[in-house]
Amino acid sequence: MDTLALKASGINKNFYDPVTFQVLKNISFEVKKGEFVSIIGKSGCGKSTLLYVLSTMDTDYQGELSINEQKVTGLSLNELAAIRNASIGFVFQFHYLLPDFTCLKNVMIPALRLGKLSYQEVEHKAYERLKILGVEDQALKRADKLSGGQQQRIAIARALINEPAIIMGDEPTGNLDSKNSNIVFDIFKQLAHELKQTIITVTHDEDFAHKSDRIIEMSDGEIIAGH
């Protein structure tokens, strides 16, 4: 159980526009496999910026980042895309499904991109994920015909499809009412504890954060609690 899902050491990041401003200051921490971590802090403290650095989408930083004990700092954009595809699942605040596709297709697309399984196997797996999240009856509807809570669950199913090392959430409950927030939280908890899924979320939601395994609190670009 001691393998690391993610390790960040000495991450610094500056914004240059309109004036130079250090948004992340020497951030170092580790996340073990199967941990459910919440990053909290006030608006503008840099927590979302940190998440996007961890997600490998933002490459403009100093320091070193490893995912699944593989160093990702300095890899090319195409290699990073492949790592995101295989090892990271995303859940965003505004679910961000592809509205022209059915829910099932939305879930399947990252797995089809990965190309390890046949189409039928991917389809079967996608149905399984939708079943875990209780939305399998919506599978063949177009994504933009669903309610916000349902869409968020589809997005979680999509994040899960490639059995990623880490699921990253950017305010995954930020746009949901308390009932749906609880459902999403329960799903995350279940994933972490039963499927040993590593989860890192950025959230404003105090209740949500306090129910997770570990809280990293940030202020002015530094981690102030939760090492």
């Binding site: 979302s48 996007y52 997600s55 989408m57 933002d58 954009l77 195409n78 895309a81 492949a82 790592i83 995101r84 595809n85 295989a86 990271i88 995303f90 965003f92 961000y96 499904l97 592809l98 509205p99 022209d100 596709f101 297709k105 697309i109 990252p110 089809l112 991109r113 990965l114 190309g115 189409y119 999509r158 950017d170």
Partner: protein, 414 residues
């Protein structure tokens, strides 16, 4: 068949925006069908004019030209290079025509590219009927060979051209001559050449080409009749006309024959330089029109893909977040362009064929030209679809490149 996920996404985007896809591919369709239509019309017209020019000119014409007198004979007689002869160059009139024409014809026929060879005597003449006179020229020919080479039958207005051989002093005249002298088949006409005595000939037929100048001057008679008219013997021949199996080889064969015979040999390309110039001008006009059409179609695709990318920018960010590389994104959008191009291309080819066919049925009725000359030439259709796909690829490339550069962090964080 397993289709890749990029293809699947491209197709879904296309089918989710049916109207725009349709409009974009209609742009390509019009471009391609116009391409085919214009190409067919041009090739048809060019072929027609080429054929027309072969109605009156042979692929190759061999004739004896007046030469400039020079002093090389004198010099070879004197055998002394220290002599400097001063001469006044003058044109020498070759009254003899071609020397040993039948020997030359025999030699020419050995060339495997030759389709037909016929000797001819041409002479400037004055036609007289009653008190009206008309300048023109008469061609003494073997009328059967002439028909084989120039399709006399297709131009016949009245009478039978075979009578040129069958009727004593039979003559076949152009419609212009007949109209000006108000003559009909069966009438007599007086023909006078510069050297011989006038002859009264019998009109056995009237022909009409679309070229007024020929119809108003030229007449045909048996070669022997014309030799008689000029007071020359049976070996007097002024021109040898040669047709080839493939007229495109004419310049090369002409050169060979010139070295072989030593006479002036002119191919149809030289004889019809204005025709070639017209072909070239038409090609320039056509290509610029087609270029503009395809450019407009290309801009249509460019525009629509650009709009798609603005609309889908969030989805592109999501695709990149879930692990689609820049190359995959280019593939998704470029494929959309190619499908639009192919769809427009296929329909465009059908539509182009349809227009070409319909226009080829339009009655014109000018001279021997009854319908608009259109060619149905398969390479045009292949070219058209290649151009269509190339245009769409070029038009799709820049928007796709732009899509691949979308920074997902910027878009998702807002």
């Amino acid at each position: 068949m397993k289709i890749s996920v990029n293809t699947e996404i491209a197709l879904t985007y296309l089918s989710a925006r049916k109207k725009q896809t349709l409009i974009a591919s209609m742009g390509v369709m019009f471009g391609i069908s116009m391409f085919i239509f214009m190409q067919s019309l041009m090739k048809g017209t060019n072929d027609y004019f080429e054929k027309m020019s072969f109605n009156t000119t042979p692929h190759i014409r061999l004739y004896s030209e007046n030469k400039v007198a020079d002093n090389h004979m004198m010099l070879s007689y004197l055998k002394d290079p220290s002599f400097k002869l001063l001469t006044n160059p003058k044109q020498l009139i070759q009254t003899q025509g071609i020397i040993n024409p039948y020997g030359i014809i025999h030699e020419i026929l050995k060339n495997p590219q030759i389709y037909a060879v016929t000797p001819q005597v041409t002479a400037d003449v004055i036609y007289t009927s009653g008190s009206v006179q008309l300048n023109g020229n008469i061609a003494g020919v073997n009328i059967i060979e002439e028909d084989r080479m120039f399709d006399i039958q297709g131009n016949m207005q009245s009478g039978d051209f075979h009578d040129v051989d069958r009727v004593n002093k039979g003559i076949l005249i152009g419609k212009g001559i007949a109209d000006k002298l108000s003559l009909h088949t069966g009438d007599n006409i007086t023909v006078r050449s510069g050297t011989g005595s006038p002859a009264i000939m019998k009109i056995v037929g009237i022909y009409a080409t679309t070229i007024k100048q020929i119809d108003e001057t030229k007449s045909y008679a048996n070669i022997v009749q014309v030799q008689n008219l000029l007071g020359k013997d049976r070996s007097y021949v002024t021109d040898i006309k040669i047709n080839l199996k493939d007229y495109n080889n004419a310049p090369a064969v002409a050169k060979e024959l010139e070295t072989l015979t030593g006479y002036k040999v002119e191919d149809w390309v030289k004889a019809n330089e204005q025709l070639k110039a017209a072909f070239k001008i038409r090609a320039v006009i056509l290509n610029s029109v087609i270029g503009v059409i395809l450019l407009v179609a290309g801009f249509g695709i460019y525009n629509i893909l650009n709009m798609t990318i603005y609309e889908k920018i969030k989805e592109i960010a999501i695709l990149k977040a879930t692990g689609f590389s820049g190359r995959s994104v280019i593939s998704i959008f470029l494929q959309q362009a190619v499908y639009i191009g192919l769809m427009g291309g296929v329909v465009g080819i059908l539509f182009g064929f349809f227009i070409t066919y319909m226009v080829s049925r339009i009655y014109i009725g000018a001279g021997t030209l009854k319908y608009l000359p259109m060619s149905f030439y398969v390479p045009h259709y292949i070219e058209a679809i290649c151009f269509g796909v190339l245009t769409t690829l070029a038009a799709g490339f820049f928007p796709s490149k732009k899509a691949s550069r979308v920074d997902p962090v910027k878009i998702i964080r807002g």
